[in-house]
């Protein structure tokens, strides 16, 4: 952290390459070392654990296969981190030769241009861009799978893919999108924008920041390897005992989650510490921008939530490797134990996704309406209320599991209560819009779309939280449509609004507006068409996650597929706009929207330490409007 003591250092000295290993490490060396580690582990374990490839049905063979594959996957992740230099800092500290100031500056990417994006770079702005590219990659992969799912469901009869491939598509689309959506706002904007917004030189733990990204990065090839290992049959929920029975692809899923949970824990601690400890002078809690509050609440909620997911995955791995029987009823275990652990993560997790999306839009709304945020306090209480209640509602996913019917009532009460803080979020947004003349740019359009999508998601959520209605709707396409309205319609719309808003600060260019509008309408109209079709087939009784359906449901399914193509085309246009504008867009002024938060007071490219001198804050950033 000595970099923080010396913000004035701007020399471009690069440490002598012969002295420092740091300068020679990057993604490439990471990949090579990762593959070497994985290969050594693979062959090492293979020589210890006998497998008979001609008798794959033999349970011992399956267990041993799982040991070898999981070992190789974790070895890849650790090897990559070794190879990219993640452990150089701790190692040098251990042997008593801490990094020099020059080396620390080098690790922050000082004066390295584009190369720093491929390195273990501690600059929060580099990490933010890395997250942005990572998120777009994941959304692209997950979106492609969604298109394949919808293509298969265009007509009854499963003409496009086999059931095995379909089940894998459903599961991998789910987990890819969940991972992408968890990081979609807090990754790029939480890293790039948030430290500038609170007036800090960097995150509290810059090395951990780089670690959180590169750990996540190592999970991506592991997740992709699921395809080449036969896919996963379980959906993203990975319910036991199906997950224990599943083939080798399941190992990739388990390893991905375990690695991802490490990344979120590191990122969560880093973000919360930064916001608590590094706000600039005068930024009292009631002057913190609402996006920062929302992101902090979101990651703080992830800190207790994800370890249970990780524990569930570790236990599933042990069941699959050493036959521990945690979740196997035939060995005295319980599938319900798994479902509980999963949903104790699973419900907070949806709010981990949702809250930053809403917070982004609340940050945008005052700027484009030129009015103060309506009831900042209600916004905070809304987020806090949702976060608090969200840890008490997990078993509403298990009303129909038969696990504890007597608990259905209490969980129904806590779940319905969430509509109160959620209502406050709506009030804040419409209160800000009231009597304003919204500046109809892309970020503002996202707010309008969010309100509609989240309203539909919210109302349908009220039926689902009610036990007698859920006893009909649970496990149907209706549920799928409901959570896509909340996660995609609300959270992803919020993140896209945030990208349009902060794009000028992150890239120095304006996002192509015309392409942005075309994409917006294609995506929003297509989105509503898809999921209204899905509400309909769900209410008519089509289960979710089915490769095929009765001819009775064919028209609505076709409508959904047409909507999906509209979204697909819209997203490709957005992707084109992002890539094209990055180099060829109109050069952005320092503060194109006339906003009052701190990130708009720094030039592009943002200096290494953001500010020459830290600003002093005297009011909240919502002093818009005239009168009073």
């Amino acid at each position: 952290m000595s970099i923080l003591d010396k913000p004035q250092v701007s020399s471009r000295q690069i440490p002598n390459p012969k002295q420092s290993l740091i300068t020679r490490l990057h993604m490439g060396t990471g990949t090579v070392v990762g593959i070497i580690f994985a290969a050594l582990t693979y062959y090492g374990l293979k020589s210890m654990y006998v497998t008979y490839t001609d008798k794959v049905a033999d349970p011992m063979t399956q267990h041993n296969n799982n040991i070898i594959l999981l070992g190789a996957m974790f070895a890849w992740s650790i090897g990559f981190l070794v190879g990219i230099g993640a452990f150089i800092g701790p190692w040098r500290w251990l042997i008593g030769k801490d990094l020099t100031d020059e080396e620390i500056l080098y690790m922050a990417g000082d004066g390295q241009g584009k190369k720093r994006y491929y390195k273990y770079c501690t600059d929060h702005k580099v990490v933010g861009i890395q997250y942005l590219v990572g998120v777009m990659t994941l959304l692209g992969v997950g979106g492609t799978m969604a298109m394949m799912i919808r293509t298969n469901l265009a007509r009854p009869g499963a003409h496009f893919v086999t059931p095995t491939v379909y089940n894998s598509l459903v599961g991998l689309h789910g987990i890819t999108m969940i991972i992408a959506m968890i990081i979609v706002a807090t990754g790029p904007f939480g890293n790039y924008i948030m430290p500038i917004m609170i007036g800090a030189y960097d995150m509290a733990f810059p090395r951990l920041n780089a670690l959180s990204w590169w750990v996540l990065f190592t999970a991506i090839p592991v997740l992709c390897s699921a395809w080449f290992l036969g896919g996963i049959p379980t959906g993203w929920t990975a319910y036991a005992p199906l997950s224990i029975q599943a083939g080798p692809g399941m190992n990739a899923f388990l390893a991905t989650i375990i690695i991802f949970a490490v990344s979120t824990a590191v990122a969560g601690m880093n973000v919360t510490t930064t916001v608590v400890a590094m706000r600039t002078k005068g930024m009292k809690w009631n002057r913190v921008p609402i996006f920062v509050i929302g992101s902090t609440i979101s990651v703080a909620l992830a800190i207790p939530a994800f370890p249970t997911f990780m524990a569930a995955m570790v236990m599933t791995s042990l069941d699959r490797t050493f036959n521990t029987g945690f979740f196997d009823a035939n060995m005295g275990g319980s599938g319900w134990l798994y479902s509980n652990l999963f949903w104790i993560m699973g419900h907070p997790e949806v709010y981990v996704i949702l809250i930053p999306g809403v917070a982004v839009l609340m940050e945008i709304a005052p700027v484009f309406v030129r009015k103060p945020l309506f009831s900042y306090n209600a916004a905070i209480l809304g987020f806090a209320g949702i976060a608090g209640l969200s840890i008490l509602v997990w078993a509403h996913h298990m009303y129909m599991a038969g696990w504890s019917p007597a608990l259905n009532g209490p969980f129904m009460v806590t779940t319905e209560m969430i509509s109160i803080p959620t209502g406050l979020l709506f009030l804040v947004l419409i209160g800000t819009l009231w009597r304003g003349k919204p500046w109809m740019k892309l970020p503002m359009l996202s707010i309008m779309a969010f309100i509609w999508d989240f309203l539909i998601g919210g109302i349908t959520g009220i039926y689902l939280s009610d036990v007698p209605a859920d006893s009909y709707l649970h496990g149907s396409m209706f549920v799928t449509a409901h959570f896509h309205f909340t996660l995609m319609g609300a959270a992803l719309t919020g993140a896209i609004g945030g990208l349009a808003y902060w794009y000028p600060k992150m890239t120095g260019r304006m996002l192509n507006e015309r392409a942005g509008y075309i994409s917006f309408w294609l995506v929003q109209i297509g989105f509503n068409v898809i999921f209204f079709g899905m509400f309909m087939v769900g209410a008519e009784g089509q289960p979710r996650r089915v490769v095929d359906y009765a001819a009775f449901y064919k028209n609505s399914n076709l409508v959904s597929t047409i909507g999906a193509y509209s979204v697909g085309i819209g997203m490709i246009i957005l992707l084109w706009a992002i890539i094209h504008s990055w180099t060829k867009g109109v050069v952005a002024p320092m503060n194109p929207w006339g906003a009052k938060t701190l990130e708009w007071t720094v030039p592009y490219p943002v200096p290494l330490t953001n500010f020459d001198e830290l600003p002093i804050i005297t009011s909240d950033p919502y002093g818009y409007g005239k009168g009073k």
Partner: protein, 263 residues
């Protein structure tokens, strides 16, 4: 959203209220409010009964009425949210320069209070409604316990099997007599499944080694479909079977034809 307009010539509260509703934005928002509210009420009343399968049990009736009436109760809230949003949309500012500064309304105590209490009441209605339904189903279950027939349901990859212990038959079709309470004891031979007789509006997971229970009373004669609502592996989509709710005499005839005995 109280009156913050610049005019200072409305002395009595009555005149203030009429003045408030005469404001252009308030008048337009009010009209939009009624339009959106009515739209949502119509959506709820028309779409769900049209989409959902024929109601063949009390449980199905209660699921459908929750969907319809919760939509209707939510309609005014959706109406306010969408009216304000649409009103703002109609007032949009275009161009490359920011719009003029709006009124600096930071909060409005009464509005926040009314909104919070309103959402609390809304949540309470939903909670009480749900709890009463759950309770009435539980009471009905205990009242009906003696007259109920039992069906042992087993899910296995990827077949449903039904065992009627009192009748001594085992089938893959779920036939039930109308008007007789039925108790489904559900278990799995392998992974989790979820037993879903669609038109009866009930559902329960099938687990290995434990028996889960759900109950219903069919109220109408007609065909039913049984599906699996929990992803259970390769042929999950095809794990379905048919059945029917039939008159008691037809049911007894079917039982005899299957080699069972009527009690």
């Amino acid at each position: 959203m109280a009156d913050h307009s610049a005019e200072e010539m409305t002395p009595t509260p009555g005149e203030r209220i009429t003045g408030f509703f005469k404001r252009k934005d308030v008048a337009r928002t009010t009209i939009l409010f009624f339009a959106w509210t009515i739209l949502f009420i119509v959506l709820g009343l028309v779409f769900y009964p049209k989409w959902m399968p024929i109601v063949m049990s009390k449980e199905m009736k209660s699921a459908e009425s929750i969907m319809i009436w919760f939509t209707v109760i939510s309609a005014p809230i959706a109406g306010i949210v969408l009216a304000v949003t649409t009103n703002a949309f109609l007032d949009m500012h275009r161009g490359d320069t920011p719009p003029p500064e709006g009124p600096a309304i930071r909060t409005n105590g009464p509005i926040v209070a009314i909104w919070s209490i309103g959402s609390l009441l809304f949540a309470l209605v939903a909670i009480v409604w749900g709890l009463l339904e759950v309770n009435s189903q539980a009471v009905a279950a205990s009242n009906d316990a003696k007259s109920a027939i039992t069906v042992e349901v087993t899910g296995s990859q990827w077949v449903w099997s039904f065992n009627y212990p009192a009748q001594g038959i085992e089938t893959h079709d779920l036939n039930l007599p109308v008007g007789v309470p039925v108790v489904f004891n559900v278990k799995s031979a392998d992974v989790n499944h979820s037993f879903w007789p669609v038109q009866l509006g009930v559902k329960i997971d099938a687990n290995a080694q434990v028996t889960t229970v759900t109950r219903t009373t069919p109220t109408m004669i007609g065909p039913i479909e049984v599906k699996c609502a929990e992803l259970c592996g390769l042929y999950h989509a095809y794990m379905e079977t048919n059945g029917a709710v039939m008159s008691k005499s037809d049911f007894n005839a079917w039982v005899v034809a299957q080699g069972g005995h009527t009690s």
